[in-house]
Each structure stands twice: as structure tokens, then as C-alpha cells.
Symmetry: C2
Subunit: 124 residues, 2 copies
DNA sequence: CTGTATCCACTTTGATACTG
DNA sequence: CAGTATCAAAGTGGATACAG
């Protein structure tokens, strides 16, 4: 690590301040349910709102809507609404969102190592 | 993405529930100032408490102590206290903490792409 | 079916003062 | 120097009811 990869200059996005790019990334994926949502959309592809709800029963409707809105406004998730009756809304990952998946997998692998170290003899 | 890399089985750590390993990782690095602290220790090596304070002036003393305690109890940061007068405490990354650095760099690179796309003509 | 709106509990963060 | 204690402010999440 000879170069400075993440300059710590104060910046701001949507009114929230941050100092390094890692913080920005965490602002976008750090919501309580966002990793789960991203993972769901990443592994299953396009999902309707109701399908997401059934996939993540622990998430209340309010939070699911809210987190999806934030993911959408950060350009990670694409929302496509069809003004039919009853209404139908499809959610999927954008290119930007898909670019995050390999990193989430690395994070996941790292965390699974941590779990394995903390609880030896319970490899899965 | 043909395999399921992060099984979404409910688990718990320190009394907090989570469902996938990515969430666990976010629990450990998702604190408001943790990325900054990890980055500081990653790029500068061992730092005393006061050096960290000067490096991160925006972080209050209370928060710095608190986040360091959590990083320590998650095994990411090593705390070495010398009972001298005045007291002296050194902080550094553990092996586990260092394992996170390449991933933080990927996250950082991804976020800088996002910044570049959002604000064309301001590459840095 | 896919949302909003409201209210409340809980948690997190900050400001300030004090200590070994 | 490196904290701890306390209180107040702000943010977050959940339950419930209602709407197009």
C-alpha cells in the first residue's frame, strides 16, 4: 500500500457529509436491509415488490419501500412501474448495482472466515 | 453467479441478529467512523490515541473511544496500553483487520467511479 | 398490489464536564 | 494522555391504519 487510494477530502452527497470513498459506499449499502435486498436481486434477477416481500419476510413494508427508494436514488436499483390495475412494480439491479456484487462476495467471504475463526468446529 | 455464496440463515453475534455474511461484515465496519479509523491505521500503521484524534478531527473523543472498543472486540484492531505516566495507548490493525483492506480498496474504487459518473468533469 | 402517513420506542451521536 | 459520565438531540425502525 504505497499509494493513497482513498483521499480523505470532505465531500457531501444528498446533504450528508463524508470524508473517504469507503464511507460513501457504506452510505449506499449500509442500510439495515440493503445488503439483503441487493443480494436477493443479484441472485434472482428482476423481482416484483411482493416477491421481494416474500423473499425477506423480516423486512416491514415501510422499510422495504424506503430502502428500495434509497437504492434507486443512488442508482443501484432500477424501478419499473406499470400503471395497470392492480399496479405492478419490477425491481432489478442496475449496472452500477451489479458492479457491487463481486465486492459483496469478497466481504461475505471475509465475514465467513471471521465466523469460522470465532466458532471453530462449526464450518457451516 | 451460479453458487449461493452467502447463505441467508439467521445467526447472531453479540446479541445482534443477521441473516447473511455481508450483514455481519457491515456490523463490524459499518459504524459512522470505522472506515476512517481502519483506513488511518491501515495507511499509517500503529498510532497512539492522540495521533488518531489529530488525524480525524471531526470525530469526538467519545466516539473515537467507542468505535475503537468495538473494533477491538471484533478483533479488527489491537489495543496496547502502557501503564506509564502519562498513560500511552497504541492502536494497530490485527491480521483480521488487514485482511479487510483490499476489500475496502475495492469498495473505494467502486465509490470513486460513482462519484465520477455523478459529477462528470470533476475526475478528482 | 404497491404503496403513504402517523405515531412511538429505541438507538446513536454530540456537547460538556470530570478523572486517574 | 487517555479516557469516563451524563444529558440532550437527532436519527432509525416498527406497528398500524389508510389510499390509489
Amino acid at each position: 500500500m504505497t499509494r493513497e487510494h482513498a483521499p480523505c477530502t470532505p465531500r457531501s452527497r444528498n446533504g450528508r457529509d463524508y470524508f473517504c470513498s469507503v464511507e460513501l459506499a457504506l452510505m449506499m449499502i449500509g442500510g439495515k436491509w440493503k445488503p439483503l435486498i441487493l443480494w436477493g436481486l443479484g441472485t434472482r434477477g428482476t423481482l416484483r415488490f411482493g416477491e421481494l416481500r416474500r423473499l425477506l419476510p423480516a423486512v416491514t413494508q415501510k422499510m422495504l419501500t424506503q430502502q428500495l427508494r434509497e437504492l434507486e436514488s443512488d442508482g443501484l436499483v432500477l424501478r419499473e412501474a406499470y400503471p395497470t390495475l392492480p399496479p405492478r412494480v419490477d425491481y432489478s439491479l442496475t449496472e452500477r448495482g451489479r458492479g457491487l456484487l463481486p465486492i459483496l462476495e469478497s466481504l461475505s467471504a471475509w465475514a465467513r472466515d471471521v465466523e469460522a475463526q470465532d466458532q471453530p468446529g462449526r464450518p457451516d
